[in-house]
């Protein structure tokens, strides 16, 4: 339990940095040129996606390669209800996390029967299942073309207002996730990751805890997908597939998955590097792959691992099931 209390020592300067960051984010529309404001808006949604995915991968030690399924479900909730029923955006935006949470409940009931590698493969299979349904059911989803159009209200189409809306929603979402992270429930999740058998013998119902974690993660991934629609006004099948599922896992690993803020940091680095590099080179995936290998071999706690949680243990052996 020692490792959880360590971050609290630095609460003073952490609060200061957080406040400075928030002020910078609020000032952004007046400072940043429009293209970079849109990049920042995208990153805010991805940060929610990454932390929600890390809720499983980092906090619980459940390696999901299928969180894009819920990200895509969030985006499709808005796009499909607009396409078929002309539902109000605000209503479908509120519904997105609920639909994602429900889907995650059903998927979790099945996927959590497996452990470790088989859990990763099952979540990957679910991700591909939703992907092929979105791609093949042309009559409902427009198939591979995806859905695009005026599904977002004009109000949010103004860059600054769209940005502020995304900022507000993602700050609220990240605060909620932070409350969960340090709640007794969050601590039990991490205890299960560290010593499954001991947590169980202390009375923690592992399946119940992990299923609830899966539902929460799915709901927030879905919310991030809804924020993607605010940014891009479209939903298409690639949002759901396993390669997309790899993104938030990579962000978490790069940023540091044993610290709450690691994935946020990772989302910033990942997306800024992506958007900057693709202006100069076609080899973005090559650099990403090499960088990922470097982090994996030499920085097991990620870039932010030392900054945010200096006393987190470096876990190099497979003890997740002990």
């Amino acid at each position: 339990m020692i490792s959880f209390s360590a971050p609290w020592r630095n609460i003073g300067w952490r609060l200061l940095i957080g406040a400075a960051l928030l002020i910078a984010l609020i000032a952004a529309p007046w400072v940043l040129p429009l293209p970079w404001l849109l990049v920042l808006q995208n990153i805010l949604g991805l940060a929610v996606f990454a932390v929600a995915t890390n809720l499983l991968v980092g906090w619980c030690g459940l390696v999901s390669f299928g969180q894009a399924a819920f990200y895509g479900i969030g985006a499709y909730t808005i796009a499909l209800s607009w396409l078929h029923y002309q539902t109000s955006f605000w209503l479908s935006f509120l519904a997105a996390p609920l639909v994602g949470g429900l889907a995650a409940f059903l998927v979790g009931l099945v996927a959590l029967r497996a452990q470790k590698l088989y859990f990763a493969l099952l979540t990957l299979a679910f991700s591909e299942l939703f992907y092929v349904i979105a791609e093949q059911q042309y009559d409902i989803t427009n198939g591979a073309n995806g859905i695009f159009g005026a599904m977002v209200p004009d109000l949010l189409m103004q860059p600054a207002l769209g940005y502020f809306f995304t900022l507000l929603v993602s700050v609220l979402a990240l605060s909620a996730l932070w409350q969960i992270f340090r709640s007794p429930f969050g601590l039990v999740l991490q205890a299960i990751r560290e010593k499954r058998g001991r947590a169980e013998s202390l009375g923690a119902n592992i399946f119940y805890h992990q299923l609830l974690a899966f539902v929460i993660s799915g709901a927030f991934c879905s919310l991030a997908g809804a924020l993607y629609v605010v940014h891009d006004q479209t939903a298409y099948p690639e949002l759901l597939d396993w390669v997309k599922s790899g993104d938030p896992v990579i962000m978490s690993v790069i940023g540091g998955m044993y610290a709450f803020a690691g994935p946020i940091f990772g989302a910033f680095i990942y997306q800024i590097a992506h958007d900057a590099l693709i202006q100069y080179t076609h080899d973005w995936q090559l650099f990403l792959g090499l960088f990922l290998l470097f982090v994996m071999l030499f920085l097991p706690n990620g870039l932010a691992g030392r900054v945010f949680a200096p006393r987190q243990p470096s876990r190099t052996t497979d003890d997740a099931g002990s």
């Binding site: 590698l117 591909e128 090559l286 792959g289 994996m296």
Partner: protein, 298 residues
């Protein structure tokens, strides 16, 4: 459906199954010994097909046979390099690191092959003796498809002979059961692992080279095939070669029937089948914990 179309449908299902088996056999062989799911396995397949396209050019049919051997050998060498430089450093790490490291390889190879071969799709011509159709009980069937089935059968038999009847095969099976004891009696286990991974890469490259004349060869082949290969190995049982064959036949038939009757739902059914198998038998249809490729050691 009359008898002729039934034969054609079954044979084309077997062709799909055969190409899937060649790839899945490599994936399952590597998993059996090394306990690693290699996400870059699809990259080896794509590179095998692309090398085939490069070696053959557009019209040099005479080079088909040497290329069919050279392309997989080059891919195998690439596999050796990956194992020695990267993978042997992560055998003791947890599965997240292993998945992401091979995923990183997948990203790197995907970009490198775009750089080397460009975005255009290529076609590979089969040699004259393998083109055309033959008549089977009045139904006409492409000779090249039969060739793919023969190659897959050859791979299956060769793997069986290797694993059951050679010293190397015994060592590989022993490494699946208990690498520590194997090392204690003097076997060079790291070298053995390198060989297994090289063989897996060879099979994937061979799969790509063999199917090259059947499809457009280009970027994206890696991403689509790896998911199919997963489904096949997971349904059959990770680490079981007979299971890979069974899984390949199941998926081949599923696809053929799906395309006939429910084209838009067929891909979804395949994933549902995989999910169902994983839930009911987490180790797959023929996989048993600790079984060495053929499932008879449990």
């Amino acid at each position: 459906m009359n008898a002729q179309t039934a034969i054609i449908e079954i044979l084309s299902a077997m062709t799909t199954a055969s190409s899937l088996f060649i790839i899945a056999a490599g994936l399952t062989l590597v998993f059996g010994a090394l306990r690693i799911i290699n996400l870059a396995h699809g990259s080896f397949y794509m590179i095998g097909a692309l090398l085939m396209a490069t070696l053959l050019g557009t019209s040099h049919h005479a080079l088909f046979w040497p290329a069919l051997l050279l392309a997989p050998i080059a891919v195998a060498a690439l596999g050796t390099l990956c194992e020695v430089v990267l993978l042997r450093r992560i055998y003791h790490r947890d599965h997240l690191v292993q998945l992401l490291a091979t995923y990183a390889l997948f990203l790197i190879f995907s970009d490198l092959s775009l750089r080397l071969w460009g975005t255009d799709s290529r076609t590979v011509a089969a040699p004259a003796m393998l083109t055309g159709n033959i008549l089977l009980r009045g139904a006409s069937f492409p000779i090249y498809d039969l060739f793919v089935i023969v190659v897959a059968a050859g791979v299956g038999i060769a793997l069986w002979l290797l694993l059951q009847w050679t010293m190397l095969g015994w060592q590989i099976r022993a490494a699946v059961e208990d690498p520590e004891s194997l090392a204690a009696i003097g076997t060079n286990v790291p070298l053995l692992f390198t060989l297994v991974f090289t063989l897996g890469a060879f099979l994937s490259g061979l799969g790509g080279a063999v199917v090259a004349p059947l499809q457009a060869v280009g970027p994206g082949m890696d991403q689509s095939v790896i998911v199919s290969a997963f489904i096949v190995t997971v349904i059959g049982g990770l680490g079981s070669i007979v299971g890979a064959a069974l899984g390949a036949v199941v998926i081949g038939l599923f696809q053929a029937m799906g395309i006939l009757w429910l084209p838009t739902w067929a891909p979804a059914f395949i994933f549902l089948a995989m999910i169902l198998v994983l839930v009911i038998r987490p180790a797959g249809l023929l996989g048993t914990v600790g079984s060495a490729y053929f499932g008879q050691n449990d």
